[in-house]
Symmetry: C2
Subunit: 351 residues, 2 copies
């Protein structure tokens, strides 16, 4: 029996609504296999937890989570916490960095039964490899002077090590896919970090002679995801650019509620974390209509991570069978609830 120990963190908002269903779906998939079992331990770390305890998780939170094989996270965020970087750096980014989850992999593709939001989808299927540990998200910077003379400096920090790692991952991935990688840059406007990014892309690319290298500035690339998403396959991007591109690609698919993501620890020292692209969606909380597909597809990426690609593919096929059948939440044009969609997926798994 292969046991996978999951730390389940529903988090806030729709995360709490979706997670019970998503874990049930995963259990059903594991049963298909026979020899696979998920053990879940639930953790209440969230903005709600913060409001009660004054911190997003206890001081030994990372230690506790590290007892598990992976973290399965819902969403974090609460409109009551206006300075939301405090909650996010306390939990989400804390785990990403504490567990050296240096890559954030996000998949987007046209799903059967879900109307893309663009007029020229062309059957697109792309993966964004996002550098997840540094770059524009840095705690380096500060303010000087006050009043009308105030100046604020924010440093983006790029290391060769982390940049190379993201690029190698992207090139290796491209070998198993269509054989080309697009690098998201902005070296025409951002003149230190981005020319360096381009340089590393070119250097690493020399080890991958068979892979076609393309570069596009983030402004143009964002527009291309709208106008011709099918031209892209593997995209490698910095922390901020990857963040932006993957929200766009999720919307292009039809709803931000369906984008999956994996925060990968690639050196094997810590658990990886699986959390969808969408946030806690306070606007629809309590109505039972949150789309569970982002979280379920994220679970599919977790199955891939643990070497269960066959099960993973089976799960995504069933998800598409369900969307194709018309059983969908309102964000993608249906009128089903979170529970109805999830139960339908479970019942098809069990068939």
């Amino acid at each position: 029996m292969k046991q996978i120990k999951l730390a389940v963190i529903p988090g806030d908002g729709v995360g709490v609504e979706i997670m019970p269903y998503a874990t049930k779906v995963l259990d059903a998939v594991a049963d298909l296999h026979g020899g696979l079992k998920f053990e879940h331990e639930w953790y209440p770390y969230s903005c709600e937890y913060y409001l009660e305890h004054g911190e997003m998780m206890p001081r030994d939170g990372l230690d506790q989570l590290s007892q598990h094989d992976a973290v399965f996270l819902g969403a974090v965020g609460n409109p009551k916490l206006v300075a939301d970087h405090i909650s996010l750096w306390g939990l989400l980014i804390n785990i990403r960095r504490g567990f050296k989850q240096t890559l954030n992999i996000r998949h987007a593709k046209q799903l059967r039964g879900i109307q893309p939001m663009v007029t020229n989808p062309g059957g697109f299927d792309l993966i964004v490899v996002r550098e997840n540990s540094e770059g524009e998200y840095s705690e380096v910077g500060g303010r000087i002077h006050s009043g009308e003379d105030e100046v604020v400096v924010q440093n983006a920090v790029f290391t060769r090590k982390a940049t190379e790692r993201a690029m190698r991952y992207a090139f290796d991935l491209a070998k198993t896919r269509k054989g080309h990688v697009t690098s998201a840059t902005k070296s025409n406007g951002i003149v230190f970090s981005m020319p360096f990014w381009d340089e590393v892309f070119e250097q690493v690319g020399q080890d991958y002679q068979d892979i076609e290298k393309r570069t596009a500035h983030i402004d143009a690339l964002s527009a291309f995801l709208v106008s011709k998403p099918a031209e892209f396959d593997v995209i490698v991007a910095s922390n901020l650019f990857g963040d932006i591109l993957t929200d766009i690609s999720a919307a292009v698919m039809g709803s931000i509620g369906i984008g999956p993501a994996a925060n990968l620890n690639v050196d094997g020292t810590h658990p990886s974390m699986f959390e969808p692209v969408h946030g806690s969606a306070p606007d629809i909380v309590g109505r039972g209509i949150a789309n569970p597909i982002g979280q379920i597809w994220t679970g599919k990426m977790m199955l891939d991570h643990f070497g269960e690609s066959e099960l993973a593919d089976q799960l995504l096929t069933i998800v598409e069978d369900v969307t194709e059948s018309g059983m969908k939440t309102p964000d993608v044009g249906g009128n089903a609830t979170t529970g109805e969609v999830s139960e339908e997926i479970i019942s098809r798994i069990k068939q």
Copy 2:
């Protein structure tokens, strides 16, 4: 007779192809007025110029340009210059900064006869006010160490003065439009500059009690421009975020080739510059199919700038009459040339 002295810089690529037509359109519009005349002086500053002279413009280039009331620019960029920040900082950004064009205003709306690239356009009509003088586009930063230990730091620099200026402009604009402003932030991930940005937005907003204030993170906002562009009216954004949002909004309209832009000098000390959102488009150069609408609409923004709003509106109406008639370049689904579309616009102006 009101004379407007234009420094015309066709630049590179499609800029060179479009500019003769765009200036002809402007002349035709001026004739409608009777009392208005554009005087143009043409400048060859471009990447081609660089390849010949080793600089993008002569040392007294800014002095020469400053003799004019405005700069009308086509596009800059040449694939032969791989490190394109050299050419762009030498010309485009040099002019923006040298002439204190601290705001970049970009309009996007659903045009009659042009199919938007998103399935839910809803008749959107929005303006992005982009801070144009600082932020993420800074020459502050550098590298340390080498080889696998290399670290690159890029500073984004935000001043209260420039941030406030962009916001006041946005709020003032909102008064003449739908009464709400959306601020593009990323304070949950970028923890110095963006919380400051939010703070200034809130502070400046207090002087505009009647204007509704909204904020959205750049990732979500980029996705919203795809999923529900009609919910936005005035958006205020940093240099980089404004750059990204306006390429997206141009694509959403139907083609990056139609987005207009105005680089405004708001203290009246230097000429403003009018240049479309699109670049030099090396992929289609020489085929005569570049869309002239971006440049012509940019001319319309120039007319607004010089107080000729009535003429400006008339011009945009005629542009839409032409697109509605089906006379369009291939990027927006037609088969007309740059010249045919432009001549059709001119002939309707003269009617």
